[in-house]
Symmetry: C2
Subunit: 541 residues, 2 copies
């Protein structure tokens, strides 16, 4: 609730409207919101129908984008009132503060921790190192293209900004198809983890480059990297901290009795947002923070809730993120149709599409090479997975939001060119990659039963409880180089986390033993508490 | 989700901030929202503790108001950054578009329809006629006070605007105490219905007066009343219409199968908002519309949902309205502490407090007199109920929002005086009336077992299924005047609604017979449908 409030508070100009002006203002708002709700309903219904017919060429996100673009185009033609139109301008701050948090939190909340943490090293490598590589490769290619006059010429730092913003991949569309098709959890974890974390990397890089541009004295590359790592570790810690505090609160406040369910869920819902805003407020990355809060809250806090509230909050977060996801694409589509585009540099658009494909290849294949050096033979990332990872790099709302930002940050013409190029990339990748992911995954044979790698991957983990991390690392160490063994030492440290979790974290932060809702939810004592009933004033209906 | 988006879209000035400006902007937003969330958490925890200790002198709303005022005062002293502060300016349009709808919808959704509809005539009388009376009495008293120099002198039309805005009573605080104490449902329905509907009346009257002020040609009093009635009936019909459409959609779309729960609740959640925005968009009253949508959706649509979604949506609406309620008072308190008040007219404030008490007495006692003429002897509204109704007229966010609006609508000085007077009335009534309602209700003996009237009221209804409406009206008709019998004819028409509902509406708009979740939810056939699981997507119905 605080959410919209706050954003609204940032719009003081409406308050200065006169009496009858206010009535018109409100009517325009009504029409604008009505249109948005109708598009949301349309997009849900369309998505439902297409899914039911197993038509995978138009995923929900693509559908929402198209709906937004079509309605936006119609509104453009029909010369809609300016006051209504204003409700559709894509606003970066609104996107970052209110649409992104529920999506990212739900990603963390809904995450299967095992494949995520067992691939944590790989995910971090792809997300941080890989995004660095992709940004720089894109930036340099665009700069070189400018030098040889095949594209519009931009200064190097602006090329780097473009490289950074266009390296943010979108988690929504591809992952929903992955889920639908039932893909290997390891590949899923890789794609998911990379696309979530690289948003944070891209935004930090973009901001670092932007501040470099305005303050040339800060042009120390290593300082940028250092500051970025500081930011990342800080955000992660603050997110984990908030998550653990919420776990303790719910463990000791004893809110899981019948008539306090509403209070319980109110508090539970406020924590993720608290984590996001805390991080943003102290200048860290809200995205990273809320992602880890989501992971921690699901693992520890969630099992301290009453059974009823568990069901409720899980559905609530799912609902919020579905609404936010659909809305992001509608909102973006509408804005694309409304915004003035600058089509004078078709060459720039054409070549930047090629450049980002190359840059993503440089990211995925080089990182995978390094990772495979560190991994024991049976845990290698197969070529097919690398190709799937390369293919699933579609660009979405984050790239769009940063490109819109660049229009304000850069001198006349430069920002507009970058914006139009990014818009084109977003529309192309969402429609083409989004529509063909299903076909591609089937061609790569990583779907469902046809996935021979999943089999291989899992059999080799020797029934070890932590997936394929654990004692069976050392076997290959004798033949590896010094570099390899160092990398493996690094990896091994993650396996001790499972022990730490089992012996310390779970007993400290949860009121039940074990892993939450599988274990003793619905036990007799619980049932007794739940059914005390009528005396409770606020009991749920 | 669309909500905040839209409001945010109304704030284009942030988008023009420069690159590093944007980072600071976002940091300020983070701090602002963080503060808001912390206050929300504090208010929930405080409210919980006080309720647990059965301390009724500081209801949750008063607590939230105080928290807002204290934190706002501290922020004022500590000279907080302007960019953070801006997140706390109370914005009327944000309040009307995003905070009010969930509160009003939940009121309608959570309403016991029987006492509401059996008292519908009385509620409408208090809300429409009574609020007219109260507005005009307040306006005239203030004007006369100005003529004899005991208060600041305002033109008549501005006095009427003040009368209208200050006649909006707040449903939140008093009703939560009523619920807590377990008061007679008829008294509850009267207070509830009046306070919800009179918001709509007050806002319409205020706007009518404001447009009269700027366009003196429209000063036709009967035209104003006619336009108001048009507006009211139109809004009610549009709200009922949207509700019935949603019922049909959920009856025939067959979304109540296991794997479509998310889609089901997404659509269900969007409807109330759709109704509100539809009404606002076509220039009607969103509040009235969403109230009736809530009533209709609970009665018909709700029983077409799957059992799981029923539980979920009921909790969701409760959660949203709790958050909105707490936030409204915090937000208002903070703004009161931050806004510049004009204390130069203490006399105006002092006398306006007295005037509103008189005006409310004129409203309640005269309307009750008329109603008692129309009601048969055993259904009279007892004196104690009238006193309780008079007492429970505390002023809240609606009056505050309109007063803030008047600062922009009226010439220098006038608006500020009205605003400060209204602020004082809000704070006084929320703290004093809110804190003493429990004591007052006990003194009037209308609480729980000590309520002798409830007994009387119900015994006389002769076990008739529709409460105290129905065949037993005619007995007193022979002795009554012609006017009385006409009024009773009017009342009798409501009793036929129960028949209409039972024979036509329920079978047409719900997929189950009977009244929804009491009847056959969880029946064997239902259980079967629910557990068919994944294969059930297409087979249902």
């Amino acid at each position: 609730m605080a959410t919209g409030a706050a954003v609204a508070a940032a719009a003081p100009h409406v308050a200065t409207a006169s009496g009858s002006g206010m009535v018109e203002e409100q009517q325009a708002a009504g029409v604008g919101i009505l249109l948005q709700i109708s598009m949301l309903v349309l997009s849900f219904v369309l998505g439902h129908i297409l899914r039911r017919r197993k038509f995978y060429y138009l995923p929900e996100a693509s559908g929402s984008l198209l709906i937004g673009m079509i309605v936006g185009g119609l509104a453009n033609i029909s010369n809609t009132q300016k006051s209504t139109r204003r409700w559709f301008n894509f606003r970066e701050d609104f996107f970052l503060l209110f649409l992104l948090p529920p999506i990212i939190f739900q990603s963390g909340f809904n995450l299967a921790p095992k494949p995520f943490f067992s691939n944590f090293g790989a995910i971090i490598t792809f997300a941080i190192l890989g995004t660095f590589i992709a940004s720089i490769v894109t930036g340099i290619l665009v700069y070189l293209g400018g030098l040889v006059y095949i594209v519009y010429r931009l200064p190097l730092v602006e090329c780097m900004m473009f490289g950074a913003l266009v390296s943010a991949t979108d988690p929504v569309t591809v992952l929903s198809i992955f889920q639908e098709l039932g893909i290997d959890t390891n590949l899923y974890a890789l794609v998911f983890g990379e696309s979530v974390l690289n948003d944070a990397v891209a935004i930090s890089l973009y901001r670092a480059m932007a501040s470099m541009r305005t303050h040339p004295s800060r042009q120390n590359f290593f300082l940028v990297i250092l500051r970025f790592l500081e930011n990342f570790v800080g955000s992660m810690s603050s997110g984990i901290g908030v998550g653990l505090i919420s776990a303790l609160l719910f463990k000791y406040a004893a809110l899981d009795v019948d008539n306090l369910h509403n209070l319980e869920s109110c508090l539970f819902v406020l924590f993720p947002y608290f984590s996001y805003m805390l991080a943003e407020g102290i200048g860290l990355s809200g995205i990273v923070s809320i992602l880890f809060t989501g992971i921690v809250m699901k693992r520890y806090t969630f099992s301290n809730l009453s059974e009823d509230s568990q069901r409720f909050t899980a559905r609530l977060f799912h609902l919020l993120s579905s609404l936010a996801e659909a809305f992001v694409f509608i909102y973006m589509g509408f804005d694309i149709a409304m915004e003035r585009q600058s089509w004078s540099h078709i060459g720039f658009i054409f070549f930047s599409v090629i450049f980002i494909l190359l840059a993503r290849a440089a990211n995925v294949f080089s990182c995978a090479y390094i990772l495979n050096l560190a991994r024991p033979p049976h845990c290698q990332i197969p070529k097919q997975y690398q190709q799937a990872l390369w293919y699933s790099g579609l660009r979405g709302a984050m790239a769009f939001a940063l490109a819109l930002q660049s229009v304000h940050d850069l001198p006349d013409g430069h920002g507009e060119t970058i914006f139009t190029a990014t818009t084109s990339i977003v529309v192309l990748t969402v429609l083409l990659i989004g529509g063909s992911t299903g076909t591609m995954l089937e061609a790569l044979q990583v779907v469902g039963d046809s996935n021979r790698y999943q089999h291989l991957y899992e059999e080799n983990s020797d029934g070890n409880d932590n997936g394929y991390i654990g004692p069976n690392y050392d076997e290959g160490a004798s033949t590896s180089s010094k570099f390899r063994s160092k990398l493996r030492d690094l990896r091994r440290s993650t396996s001790s986390f499972a022990l730490l979790d089992k012996n310390y974290l779970t007993p400290i932060f949860t009121s039940r033993n074990g892993y939450g809702n599988d274990d003793d939810v619905g036990s007799p004592s619980e049932e007794l508490t739940m059914s005390r009933g009528p005396g409770a004033v606020e009991g749920h209906e």
